[in-house]
Symmetry: C2
Subunit: 256 residues, 2 copies
């Protein structure tokens, strides 16, 4: 249970609209998004963070880490499907995939839709996130049930250093924290309030992320337990790379 001496808790729990949870983050100063709380289902403190699950009135159950909403049952599909299928549909035949973070299991669920995939490793630092997800978000944590999945509890950066280069066809970082050299990008996203991912291709043939070569709209991506895709399709894949003019301008300036 939460420690009453913890100074972090009041930041997001005492300043809420009464009966509501408010996400107030230094990433988005001066604004807050709030969800009405029906009931707090879990509050704990792991070695790494505060973990909370509450039943919201209109977004289903909600997972919160250190005061930041990680997922809601209502809209988790948009995040999990896009962070997974944008990269995996952009390369011809992904076989080995590593997920860093993503302890809730949702990205695993989506990776498993790809029949070409033979091995799915996940490195999540916080076992409590895995356990809580299995208990409260079975439709998300169902990702762990795929036999191709191996869970490693540990630090993602250390894990990556220990494996030979070129082991994985794709690495998906589903982390709430800035990691190593990408820190700057994680701390200063260009589009506050909008889900944004960074996609990059390092070695091998160059990848055209904008025009997917690998469709998963086919029937084999849909199983009885996972259900059909709710958000991703090939059109929305390409549309995700169309930027408003102000964003184009920022990127053009950076790439000059």
């Amino acid at each position: 249970m939460a420690d009453s001496n913890d100074k972090r808790e009041p930041e997001y729990m005492s300043s809420v609209i009464p009966g509501w949870f408010s996400e107030i983050s230094p990433m988005w100063p001066g604004e807050a998004h709030s969800l009405k709380v029906e009931k707090i289902l879990f509050q704990g403190k792991s070695d790494y963070q505060d973990v909370m699950v509450f039943q919201s009135s209109t977004y289903g159950k909600v997972l919160v880490l250190d005061g930041v909403i990680q997922l809601t049952e209502r809209d988790e599909c948009a995040y999990q499907e896009m962070i997974t299928h944008l990269p995996l549909c952009s390369i011809p035949n992904p076989k080995k995939v590593l997920v860093i973070g993503g302890g809730d299991g949702g990205v695993l669920r989506e990776v498993a839709r790809h029949s070409s995939v033979e091995q799915i490793d996940i490195c999540e630092i916080d076992k409590m996130v895995v356990d809580v997800s299995k208990q409260f978000f079975p439709d998300v944590a169902i990702g762990y049930e795929d036999p191709r999945v191996t869970l490693h509890i540990g630090d993602g950066v250390a894990f990556l250093k220990a494996v030979p280069e070129g082991t994985y066809d794709a690495v998906i970082v589903d982390s709430s924290d800035p990691i190593g050299p990408a820190q700057e990008l994680f701390e200063k996203p260009f589009f506050a309030g909008v889900i944004g991912f960074m996609l990059c291709s390092t070695e091998g043939p160059s990848v055209d992320f904008k025009n997917p070569i690998n469709s998963i709209d086919a029937n084999n991506s849909c199983s009885k337990s996972k259900g059909p895709l709710k958000f991703y399709n090939s059109e929305i894949h390409t549309a995700a790379f169309c930027l408003p003019s102000f964003a184009k301008k920022v990127i053009d300036a950076k790439t000059k």
Copy 2:
């Protein structure tokens, strides 16, 4: 100034995080978006609604009608540009344009970028919205300065009934309220929380809204006073019609 007997005010002013404005709407039950308030600049009650302007800490000045945020200086460009240029770039040579609502003037500013346009009529029911916008949002209300603009204070539905059919090449409804037969659509938007517009073409040649035939990326759309487009471009026009799978499904079911 606000009447202390007004029972509507407490709904959104008393339930805020202290020092914050919270938008709590029956359109989006169980969630709220909040902005930190630096100073309330205007509070009034017109014949139609409560009108408020406040200085936010990170979104510039904010216009609020009956507790619902109408625009913020920081992101008004996205709304005004998209509601205007999606229709006007989809038809070959717009000459006469009617704006219903849009008393802040932002849509006028965008319509005026189109050099083919000869006449811009606006029918706004609430003169206080016009006056307040001219006072507090000069970069938005600059739309009124175009010589092609004529302002009509009155009810949009009555105005439309009084003009001969076919008078306008485009009618842009920028209204916070449901209007007549479209009420159902306004009250039950498919995508809560996402800016959504309905585009339709009635008589004349059919219009392909998805592939704009009329670009305004050219220089003549940018004047010293208005500045360049910040959001709209042809790519984002087309991308705006790419829907996530859950939304496609809803629309497919309705059009069967």
